[in-house]
């Protein structure tokens, strides 16, 4: 690939109110979308605000809208998303914009907590370690959901979040499902109550935008369906 070639990169500038600013960014071999953003900040405009950390798809902090699709920018090759030599990069959907490409993650993590995302231990450090058998159905469900790194790509992809601000969202509910299936956790009914309110799991329309866009290939829709079944069983038994 020639070093002379360049991309037209449109980057969101401003907060909620703002506009796209276009930069000519030199193309390079194996270039990622995060490389484009870094090039703009380091060579064209040092005031550009964006967030990243690990650059290898582990931390979940560099998620942005790339050509209208939520993605980890560090793991997205430009060659796969550029359209006619242009790339549009915007802050994550469904979250308040602080500045440029940096969003306020508070609503995302507030909902994560509201959905009962904190582990509630049943043993103390004085107890013996409980053996966890990986092949049990509960552990398989927990393991399927546990790889979430809270990048908020699913939250940005979710149309229910965009129209129902109270909705807890796929990541928070997926986390709740992993704990519902954790035999070491002791807050089952409190967690099922937390996901059964006005913004709870029952508001999911199963459109599966979260499944389509999760970079870790998790299935939050299946987790939410599991929560729906678990909450109905608990309600029928009068536990919630």
């Amino acid at each position: 690939m020639s070093d002379d070639a360049s991309l037209k990169v449109s980057v969101w500038r401003g907060a909620e109110a703002g506009s796209f600013e276009t930069f000519d960014v030199p193309m390079q071999e194996s270039q990622t979308v995060l490389d484009l953003v870094a090039w703009v900040q380091q060579n064209a405009d040092p005031t550009l605000a964006y967030r990243y950390a690990c650059r290898v798809g582990m931390c979940g902090s560099c998620a942005m809208m790339v050509n209208g699709v939520p993605r980890w920018t560090c793991r997205t090759h430009v060659s796969k998303v550029a359209k006619d030599g242009t790339v549009e990069i915007a802050p994550l959907r469904n979250l308040p914009v602080i500045k440029d490409l940096a969003v306020d993650m508070d609503p995302f993590f507030d909902k994560w907590t509201a959905a009962g995302g904190a582990f509630s231990p049943t043993k103390s450090r004085d107890d013996t370690v409980e053996p966890i058998l990986p092949e049990t159905p509960e552990r398989r469900e927990a393991d399927a959901a546990i790889e979430c790194i809270n990048c908020a790509v699913c939250y940005a992809a979710c149309d229910v979040v965009s129209v129902n601000p109270d909705y807890l969202g796929p990541a928070a509910l997926n986390r709740a499902w992993s704990l519902v299936n954790d035999v070491k956790d002791g807050a089952l009914d409190a967690r099922l109550t937390a996901v059964s309110g006005a913004g709870g799991c029952h508001n999911c329309h199963s459109q599966q935008g979260c499944v389509a866009h999760c970079p870790n290939e998790l299935n939050p829709t299946a987790s939410i369906a599991g929560l729906k079944r678990a909450t109905v069983r608990a309600a029928l038994k009068g536990r919630i």
Binding site: V160, N164, D166, A198
Partner: protein
């Protein structure tokens, strides 16, 4: 805007409606193929507690099911919430249920 109890009620009404819809379609096919006139149909339905229960249950299930569904759509489309949404949900239920039961009464009483 849909909690666990409204969710359960909507699924329950769906379960109720499914066999009733099949029954209603079967009755329609029978009535049309048999060439029954309106007065012959009314002759069978009027005074029948069975048909009143069949279509009365159907009308109530539809009113509940539709009101809960419309509640979600109204909240997501227009942002309506709180008491206004609760009153509108009840209003839709009352309107649909009232119209449905009125029609059931007209053909079974």
């Amino acid at each position: 805007m849909i909690g666990v109890r409204l969710y359960m009620l909507q699924r329950l009404t769906a379960l109720i409606m499914a066999p009733l819809v099949i029954g209603h379609i079967a009755v329609m096919i029978y009535a049309v193929q048999g060439g029954l006139s309106a007065s012959e149909i009314l002759g069978r339905t009027q005074g029948s507690l069975l048909w009143a229960l069949f279509y009365g249950t159907f009308a109530v299930a539809v009113a509940l099911h539709a009101a809960i569904g419309l509640r979600a759509i109204i909240h997501e489309t227009f942002g309506l919430g709180g008491k206004s949404l609760a009153i509108l949900t009840l209003g839709i239920f009352a309107l649909l249920g009232g119209m449905g039961l009125h029609a059931v009464y007209a053909v079974t009483a």
